[in-house]
């Protein structure tokens, strides 16, 4: 079952003195997120990532298109009751302590008063702010506010968690801790929707991603599939390739690159791989290993976005 299902979700912001000028934020975005997954939404600045989340949580209102979240239409109270949200730039009342902040947001989520304090304390412990429970949030650093924000998003035990740049301003140890928390939540069945610029982190924890550019989805898929370079193989051989064999393989018009006991083959289709393997075996050369070359998500993202933008 899908946690999020959007069909042609479109958002145009109206600006100008008489709101006559339309600015495209999202154009016919159709995304499907499976329950229990960690889904990453990637895109350059202004691609529409935050707008997408805002539409799902009715912070902004769609121009057209439909969406369901956990089986509920947009704007329903039941939808919000089951969601947690950490916005990109969140502000907490400076006069409240960390504990009071969580209790306040727990109240807004309709949690029973009797459970609020214990829940707030356990969440502060989870995000490493146990010793700061009685300190006013105006004294918190950015990283600490980010941790508090995560705790706030978890206060109602959400089934679906929206996180917009959750590790922004957090030190490397803190980032690792947040990743661990997210992985644990995933294990408990929580669906996580992550907006992030830190592609290395997305690569580490996300099952699926979608890439937005200029308000439109340009790719969706499983990270391993997206980052697999199409048909570039590295083949580890038992012995170096003779000149004779190089000529033989060359006649078959493969694009090959030899280096001692390995060769890189760029192929047009997978049948060519079998042909290379057959030729190597005929010549008595054993194959010790073979890997399809992969690129990092960051490289893939940059190539894709540059290509889309014609740069």
């Amino acid at each position: 079952m899908e946690a999020i299902q959007t069909v042609d979700l479109t958002k145009y912001y109206r600006t100008g003195l008489f709101k006559r000028k339309n600015i495209k934020a999202l154009e016919k975005v159709s995304i499907s997120v499976d329950q229990g997954n960690i889904f990453g939404l990637l895109g350059p600045n202004g691609a529409g990532k935050t707008t997408f989340v805002k539409l799902l949580l009715s912070i902004a209102l769609p121009t057209s298109g439909t969406a369901t979240v956990l089986g509920h239409s947009l704007g329903q109270r039941a939808l919000k009751e089951q969601c947690g949200y950490l916005p990109e730039s969140h502000r907490y009342p400076g006069f409240l302590t960390a504990l009071d902040t969580l209790i306040f947001f727990g109240r807004l989520n309709g949690m029973p008063e009797s459970k609020l304090k214990d829940k707030a304390k356990s969440l502060l412990e989870l995000v490493g702010l146990k010793d700061w429970a009685k300190v006013k949030t105006k004294k918190f650093s950015k990283g600490m506010l980010q941790r508090l924000g995560l705790a706030q998003a978890l206060v109602n035990d959400p089934k679906l968690l929206f996180l917009d740049e959750p590790t922004d301003g957090v030190d490397p140890i803190g980032r690792k801790e947040i990743r661990d928390i997210l992985t644990r939540l995933k294990g408990e069945g929580t669906t996580i929707f992550l907006n992030s610029h830190l592609l290395s982190e997305v690569e580490m924890i996300c099952d699926q991603v979608a890439i937005l550019n200029k308000g439109s989805v340009v790719r969706t898929g499983i990270i391993s599939e997206l980052t697999a370079q199409k048909l570039i193989y590295n083949i580890q051989l038992s012995s170096p390739v003779s000149d004779d064999l190089k000529v033989r393989l060359g006649h078959k018009h493969f694009s090959l690159e030899f280096k001692d006991t390995s060769l890189n083959a760029t192929l047009k289709d997978k049948s060519e791989l079998n042909s290379i393997i057959d030729t190597l075996r005929e010549c008595g050369i054993g194959i010790e290993g073979m890997t399809q070359q992969k690129t990092s998500l960051e490289d893939y993202f940059i190539q894709l976005v540059k290509g889309e933008n014609g740069r």
Binding site: Y13, K54, L57, S58, I59, A60, L61, R77, A78, K80, E81, C83, Y85, P87, E88, S89, H90, R91, P93, F95, F104, F105, R107, L108, N109, G110, M111, E113, Q152, F162
Partner: protein, 279 residues
């Protein structure tokens, strides 16, 4: 639960505002001043002195000396109370709309109507706490020291709170439209001045032109907007008749009723606007 959560939070936020803390300090100073300054004469209110001085005798106006004092205190304090109140809470709506705050509030299972009403009622309740502190304090001092338990003065606080709640509807719509505390304050004070001008239109604005349409236009504006000036004027009439008032007439509920309609209208427009905005 959700509504009350936001309501409680707003009261807390209002009370902690620097302006209202200042108001609280000033109110406390005034209470101490009267506690120390009013002579203890519970058996003879006419013999009440302030710091040993006999207060000017207003007997010609048929006023009890304590009543006269309470009336003067009410008239002079209401303006400052409203002033502090507006300064104190004008930032509540724009503050709620700040990026990072509104995102969090709207992501919670709280409707926009509930959110707006919790802010408006919470802000009024926050001001009411301060007003009640001052009015009840004065009432107790005069009761205990002068022996006059003036229920009219005590009940006048309800009308002042009501007038403030109506004025906050103007602050709300101004805050939603401008998203600026400064503009909200400016608009609220301008509105108060306009309200005062409209209240006295027969002696002022009417004289600009004899045109009937112009007069009807002023009347319409007067009746479709909260009648702040008239309500504050009436709130003092429950204490007694002020001989120095421009409009020395009997207390009437009409401004409160008209203002209930206009305030509801303003909150309705505010909600309509708020519910259609992207944040």
């Amino acid at each position: 639960m959700r509504f009350w959560g936001m309501f409680r939070f707003t009261i807390g936020e209002t009370i902690r505002r620097g302006t209202l803390i200042f108001y609280f300090v000033v109110a406390t100073c005034i209470l101490i001043f009267f506690t120390l300054g009013i002579s203890h004469a519970p058996d003879d209110p006419a013999a009440v002195t302030v710091f040993g001085m006999q207060v000017q005798d207003p007997s010609q106006a048929g006023l009890n000396i304590v009543e006269f004092l309470l009336l003067q205190l009410h008239s002079s304090s209401v303006f400052w109370i409203i002033l502090f109140g507006i300064f104190g809470v004008a930032g509540l709506i724009p503050g709620m709309l700040e990026k990072g705050t509104i995102d969090l509030f709207l992501s919670k299972p709280l409707t926009r109507a509930e959110l707006l009403m919790a802010r408006a009622i919470g802000a009024t309740a926050g001001i009411a706490v301060n007003l009640i502190y001052f009015f009840v304090g004065i009432w107790l001092i005069f009761g205990l020291k002068a022996g006059v338990w003036h229920w009219g003065f005590l009940s006048s606080v309800i009308y002042v709170i009501y007038a403030f709640a109506c004025l906050f509807s103007v602050v709300t719509i101004a805050g939603l439209l401008t998203r600026s505390a400064g503009f909200s304050i400016l608009i609220a004070f301008s509105f108060q001045l306009i309200s005062w001008g409209l209240e006295l239109r027969e002696r002022g604005l009417y004289l600009i032109s004899d045109n009937v349409i112009y007069h009807r236009f002023l009347d319409t504006i007067y009746y479709i907007t909260p009648q702040i000036s008239a309500m504050l004027e009436n709130s003092s009439r429950v204490i007694g008749n002020n001989p120095f008032s421009f409009n020395a007439t009997e207390f009437t509920f009409m401004p409160f009723l008209y203002s209930l309609f206009s305030t509801s209208l303003l909150y309705g427009i505010s909600y309509w606007y708020f519910s259609r905005q992207d944040y």
